[in-house]
Symmetry: C2
Subunit: 253 residues, 2 copies
């Protein structure tokens, strides 16, 4: 529309802008009409946008913004949309077990806690949003590490480690063995390995829009929390993670 938009990049942005307000996708001709661009141009632009991952083609007819744009948007908003979708899930889980729950992600080789939820009518949380937990000790760290690429794991394991408690696993072989197990069971457990006296479980949440994975975790004093059957916790947690993952698919308001 504006004069500065009459450049290759400007046209690409006009298209992306149009797609951004149509989550269900638009067809080639609809995009051309909305952007006031020539059909052939839109067609070519869409293909280059697709080739860099900024746009995705749905059912051979509709186009939507692609993974690359979602990753950028997620970064820009600090994952606000995921935090948003996660709130009810965190609350549900917290109330179900009477323990603190939280959502975390990988950032610069450490765990960044994005949001937490304490069971209604209960004291304050042990984890504060922010970053800092290592990937080899806390449950969230373990699950995030286990689901990373092998090359990332290799690099990470070259870094030095600290034994936070007597239970902390610092030996590379031990950690690799646990990673294998976590990959199979889809659940990570941390019993007295990071914070003394604390037991926590974590499951992965897959964001299909960005390809990024997050960790959903429950967290409590071992004395109290270990009285709840382990299988029950795991099932509920996996269930919640699944639910959250699905709710991210079409970014339902």
């Amino acid at each position: 529309m504006s004069d500065v938009d009459d450049t290759p990049l400007g046209r690409a942005f006009r298209i992306m802008e149009t797609l951004s307000s149509h989550p269900d996708g638009l067809t080639l001709s609809e995009i051309a009409a909305a952007t006031e661009l020539v059909v052939a141009t839109v067609h070519r632009q869409l293909n280059t946008l697709i080739s860099v991952g900024a746009v995705r083609k749905l059912n051979t007819k509709a186009f939507v913004l692609g993974e690359r744009m979602w990753v950028i948007a997620s970064q820009m908003t600090n994952g606000a949309d995921i935090t948003h979708s996660a709130a009810p899930v965190l609350k549900d889980l917290a109330d179900r077990f009477g323990e603190t729950t939280f959502l975390a992600r990988l950032a610069d080789s450490t765990v960044e806690v994005m949001s937490t939820c304490t069971p209604t009518a209960f004291g304050q949380s042990f984890v504060q949003p922010g970053r800092g937990m290592p990937l080899y000790a806390a449950a969230t760290g373990k699950i995030l590490l286990a689901l990373s690429t092998d090359s990332f794991i290799d690099d990470y394991l070259k870094l030095p480690r600290t034994a936070f408690t007597a239970n902390t696993k610092v030996d590379e072989d031990d950690i690799r063995a646990e990673i294998a197990q976590i990959r199979e069971r889809k659940i990570a457990i941390c019993n007295n390995e990071f914070d003394p006296g604390i037991l926590s479980y974590a499951a992965a949440v897959e964001d299909r829009r960005t390809g990024l994975t997050y960790a959903l975790a429950v967290f409590g004093l071992a004395d109290r929390f270990s009285s709840i059957d382990r299988g029950t916790v795991e099932t509920q947690l996996l269930n919640a993670a699944q639910r959250l993952s699905l709710s991210l698919r079409s970014n339902g308001k």
Copy 2:
């Protein structure tokens, strides 16, 4: 990095991706290093990105993602980040007056309520998230309309209007007069003009990142709510809007 990224668009995306994870900005040479691109290329790309509004230059040294990207990100996430920042402000206001508060935006010529907050320990809300209110009757509608461009207002006033109550202003001159007043006072009031028996106040929240404006509103039964001094409500509301607007500047975690 990838082979498909060796195209003009791919390079632009590499740069935007890099900037997305550095909210405080990066210098030209830092970007060049991070993206593994030649400095001259990054320099040129940044200029074209700036010319389309995708990137903004800070203090003559640092670059950050620009308005255009924020608008797109905001659209993609359905304003999740604003909703997120607004939550505490909404809650504070709601508790202060004991009335329902909400955040809304303009969408397709109607008001879309993004999130609501009822005072703690009180019944349910009158407004449900979703869309539908007209721009000439509800307080949120009025403020959003008043702050739109003149051409938008002209177009909008050509549409037909309905008198929801005996107080609804439907005459074009009346509406234009009120718009002028709202622009000056920065506050819109709706007393019994849309929902019968309801009094509401709305103020504008400016999102400097996107250039978009949102409406922050308080909402209550006229019988009860009108007992609170009008000046007090307006001051508090403007104050809250200001606070929210500032918290959007640097998207603090």
